[in-house]
Amino acid sequence: MASIFKQRNVIAILILFAIVFPFITNNNYLIHIMTLAFIWMIAVYGLNLLAGYTGYLSLAHAGFFAIGAYSLSLLTTKAELNYWLAFVLALIITSILGLLVGLISLRTKEHFFAIYTMCVGYIIYLIIDKWDSLTGGIRGLIGIPGPGNIGPITFTTPVSNYYLVLSFLLLSILVMYRIVHSLTGRTFIAIRNSEDLAQTIGINTMTNKLLVFVISTFFAGLAGALYASFIRFIGPDIGYITITFDILTYLIVGGIGTLSGPVIGTILIVWVSQQLQFLQDYRMMIFGPILTLLVIFYPRGISGGFIEWKMKRQAKKHQKQNKNQNQQMISTQESSAASNKNG
């Protein structure tokens, strides 16, 4: 049981740190960077559930991020809807488009799926880029309003924006945690493991894959909508494939198919990029090879490597215990084994 408390403590400390962070730094630039990192994390979690837990690498993720961003921007600036109404609608629009794309793209597998979604990503990008009358084309959209008031709470300062985004992030992580540690999550993992096997144990793989795809696009859309109202102007490049690659890099470095991976990878890369400001556009000279090396030597990233090490140790311990104790032990061990499952 001790390990649970330890894990809980670590999480509590991290959350606490995130909450007091603005007071520690008092530096608006750092707060800005952290807020942006939180937004990316939400998008990374979306891709993680699909690519990491279900085994389907979608290269259209930035496309859905852009759809969320553009939906919110257009609904607030052109249709002049109430901010939060537009926000909800943006998420619904992204999810519905995700459903439609998923319905067709999920009939393909492996590299066909990756290529298919890459093409979908390009289509979304090109439509945004060329549909001048609606999206403003290459000039993009400006004057996007910041988050609207919720009752007496306003979001006009960087710090208030920081807390808003942090709340969405924590909520996203909670939802992800619960999905992954539920029968639904186990179903997704079974599909990643072997689709044929999943099907023979009675899992409707298409329905489940579609569900993951929609959830994944929902989180991409959520991140996009937050991004648009945080940065206040957007251009077609947020839907370009390089953004998908950025998100993928955060995920792989942190640990694909783990719950802490998106946070670790994003923070690490955003932070290192800040330190390596002089590199700016050339940062991929470092992260590109890291991506490749990780996949070859540490396919589950930082977090996955740690969990694997911990699980092996845990398994050995249980092995020893099981040798001299009988089956009744199992029920007490379950909880700790479950909590070790995916970090």
Partner: protein
Amino acid sequence: MDVLIQQLFNGLTLGSVYSLVALGLTLVYGILHIPNFAHGALYMVGGYITLTMMTQAGLNYWIAIVVSCVVVGGLAVLMERLVFHPLRHAPAIHDKIAAIGIMLFLEALVQFVWGADYQTMTSPYGQVVNFAGVTLTMQRLLIIVATVVVMALLYFFLKKTFTGATIIAMSQNREGANLVGINTNRVAMLTFLISGALAAIAVSLAAPINLVFPGMGHLVLTKAFVIIILGGMGSIPGAIMGGYILGFTESLGATYISNDYKDLIAFVLLVLILTIKPNGLFPAKGGH
């Protein structure tokens, strides 16, 4: 009518380049069953090497192309050895991510060395000629002719030489090839070499009528994927036919539908194909 003929010529030019890129991609897929997402980056690097050889080293266009083939071919072999070979038993998602990593690295590297600006490559064949009632530059004519020559050489190599035959044998049956004593490692390296050289030739031919920039490989790669899915993953005639079909479709589409949306044609085409046939037009033979 003149417009139509002009566009058919343009389509032929475009299709030639697409075919060469798709050929390299399909050869690699045939041998190793991996979609090489870094192939577009090889194309892009080839463009810069040729350009630099001409402008900095003052080499002749043709010699610059040869240098570019060697460099990019070598880079492709290195990629096979260092990345795809170690990953040959890994889950399918891994080689894609690894290839994307290489691609990101090469793009950043090129941008670091040559900058992000668009550059032009001037070929010695800029003259304008009138041919069968249409106006075209010598360069376009050169693209069309050179592509046919390269394809003929490749055909000769694959069909008439022993080494070429091993590539074909391995793409048809990897285990079988292993059994009859073919050195599969050597064949894989050779295939990557050819694939890289083809990309270098394609970009060197195409760059004078386009521009050279770090992101130039993206669209080409995606379209090459469309082509090999259209023509059957791993199929050589399929890549050639698919390349020309896409070239014609795009140039006609640009004229008669919309110039703005011409790049969409390939993707919409692919989405349509995979929607109707999720395993591609010519799925690998299944059954147990």
